[in-house]
Assembly symmetry: D2
Homo-oligomer: 246 residues x 4
Amino acid sequence: MAKSKFEYVRNFETDDTCLRNCYIVVRLDGRNFHKFTEQHKFAKPNDNRALGLMSRSARSVMEELEDIVIAYGQSDEFSFVFKRTSTWFKRRASKLMTHVASHFDGRVVLYPSNRNLKDYLSWRQADCHVNNLYNTVFWTLVQKGGLTTAQAEERLKGTLAADKNEILFSEFNINYNTEPAVLKKGTTLIWEKRDETVTKCMKLPNAEEKEMTVTRSRRRVQAHHCDVIGEQFWEEHPDILEDDNC
Amino acid sequence: MAKSKFEYVRNFETDDTCLRNCYIVVRLDGRNFHKFTEQHKFAKPNDNRALGLMSRSARSVMEELEDIVIAYGQSDEFSFVFKRTSTWFKRRASKLMTHVASHFDGRVVLYPSNRNLKDYLSWRQADCHVNNLYNTVFWTLVQKGGLTTAQAEERLKGTLAADKNEILFSEFNINYNTEPAVLKKGTTLIWEKRDETVTKCMKLPNAEEKEMTVTRSRRRVQAHHCDVIGEQFWEEHPDILEDDNC
Amino acid sequence: MAKSKFEYVRNFETDDTCLRNCYIVVRLDGRNFHKFTEQHKFAKPNDNRALGLMSRSARSVMEELEDIVIAYGQSDEFSFVFKRTSTWFKRRASKLMTHVASHFDGRVVLYPSNRNLKDYLSWRQADCHVNNLYNTVFWTLVQKGGLTTAQAEERLKGTLAADKNEILFSEFNINYNTEPAVLKKGTTLIWEKRDETVTKCMKLPNAEEKEMTVTRSRRRVQAHHCDVIGEQFWEEHPDILEDDNC
Amino acid sequence: MAKSKFEYVRNFETDDTCLRNCYIVVRLDGRNFHKFTEQHKFAKPNDNRALGLMSRSARSVMEELEDIVIAYGQSDEFSFVFKRTSTWFKRRASKLMTHVASHFDGRVVLYPSNRNLKDYLSWRQADCHVNNLYNTVFWTLVQKGGLTTAQAEERLKGTLAADKNEILFSEFNINYNTEPAVLKKGTTLIWEKRDETVTKCMKLPNAEEKEMTVTRSRRRVQAHHCDVIGEQFWEEHPDILEDDNC
């Protein structure tokens, strides 16, 4: 088609291709999440409907974009990791980000080694633990202890993890260790192979039909709420990471 | 709160602050738009429901983000222009983009002068004209002329605008000039001041109540389907652009 | 020539094209300048040899790169301004920077408007004034007043410009206003047109030779040590800046 | 010191920090090298003075910047590799580049894995081989074969490496394999530990003096002209590369 004389402005667009051979992490945060939780009357400190919605949304993103090798969510954030050799959208940051985002604020970060990537996920999971323990004690003090939010904040100032566990246990008979893993550890989504048995109806050469049982392997997105900071998870799922020296 | 030893990975995040004193344009395109139109059985060559939905979505984005001074849409794309002095989200490209985007693919472009910005909008409007004329003739040949899509494509190969106008007029008695402006020119959204007259009920010192009529000025998003390539539009709306030498 | 299988690494190179229609400023600073001045026994507070060398080096850079419209130097730094429409080295930042640099540390900055560019040069000239006044008083206190450098530093702590002028005048009979302009204002290099009269020897059709005087206009780099913060300089040299709305 | 009102322009400077945990390669090319070689009457196809000068310059850059782990030069280019954990100049690209550059054109490239880095160096060495073989035959045809440069160019069009070796051998009795390694392989600079024996004069408690021999290990820059494409070089120098998973 004809070119207009205005087309020179296209040259103002800049190249945002992500450096090759790095993991591409798209991290999304809910915008104005605090206000959103109030408008929708979320349960405190955690709202199961909201957690389920986040998890299902992340799963559908992952099922659509097969180059995402792992996704991790906690609180109002979710991180999606594209494999380091991915060429989706020619590795263009804006395309990757807007494709994953919807009603989220996002950012793209590059990690050059497996160590960096594991540390990134560990950082988010450590953050999850610290925040969830705090929120659990805080809202217990408010909801069961009768404190105002200001009093609860004051009470927790300067306390360590052990102190918070102790408050829960001695004052409210709550054992933090038995709280749901989804809250303590967040949600980790990965691809897993499953053998599926399917019954098929096949037409034989003599025009008869015959039922046959076929077993095939299929990749599915699977949710975990386990520890990703230690080595065990990575040893059990060796397919997630690519060789560093590729 | 406690810092985890993994937090060093935060340093891998890069600064994506947009250059100061430039207009920031976020342009969004529908992803897999072709497939989308088929799934939803869009009318050809233009679907009024879809156009209306795009326009209403853009309007709500603009009403929420007051630093957007003008927005322009055509076909499956919409461009949102942030004023050059905007400090929204600290001018961070990823935040601006994901905030505006939802089910779109986006990109951020910077334009340093009023001339560049007008040329950008002119480029998109010239593109709108070329595409819409083509699509109008193409689908008329198919729907009214009985050609297959391959035949229509062949027929239009190498034709100029005048040829296409002629086909429409002499073969189908259609005057392209009288087609709806929204299709030929796209949609331009801007802020406009309106005087509003409100009737208020006020309490007087003697405890009586009295109805009063108050006139106040209020900014509203207004849609236009006019030419933005010439100077007239800009002369009629001098508040859209900021002084170049600011 | 044959491509090697290693050539894929070329794709790791990133695009560093400078945004179009912005002034490109390359600012250079002497590296380890303090140590350098000691090794070469520079006169304090200013060394005329060094200032002359800087100025001559900048002039030769500018004479070689005609797209530099103005250069400004003070202390151990020099800023070179490429015109906003320049396409030298395809506007690639690394090429522009390393070409200008030699034994300097550099950085590239973009300015979208004439106002921004004037403010950039004003910023550097204001910096020049503040530093030169301080250094002049400081080294006078040391060299003529017999103070140690620590004592001179202590003496000047918290003093304003007026106080420093007063110390120079009442204690050392030095009027700062009569100090050389090159120190107070720095050095500004620009292109200026000069009429040159050249005598040429021409061969006539009848094989005789005849001397002719030809006047022609030629661009030369000219040094100034005047104020660039006010409007006078810019009004006297209207050719330096390009139209904002280009 | 006082802040001027112009200082806001500092905010136009952009962050050019190199991504962490990547090798940083600064590659320099001679600018206008062709013209330079003519002005200085370089010997063809290779000039030993120039090669020696390049190598000595690169060595002195490396001796000054200890975070450079390997440097590789061929023709008019030299590549300097900063270790992936380097924090020199806070990893700011412009600082690293201008520091290394002087009369060169430069660019900074990041490589996330050992494999990428080896491939980068292999790419440059493969390039060296292809160019040097071509230039050797080309100038032999001109200088010993009496061809013009245009004729030599025509003669070599479409020839493979084997053809060029054959021309050299059968027509000029030159065995390319015995050409100097510095030309065929380029120059690789690395740090090597050497034991040095120093004789020191020490004062004993009883005020007598005694000569003592001390052996100490010292790092020195060492030049190699060997193959870096295969694994042997890297196995012999295991200290150059850092662990990929760091």
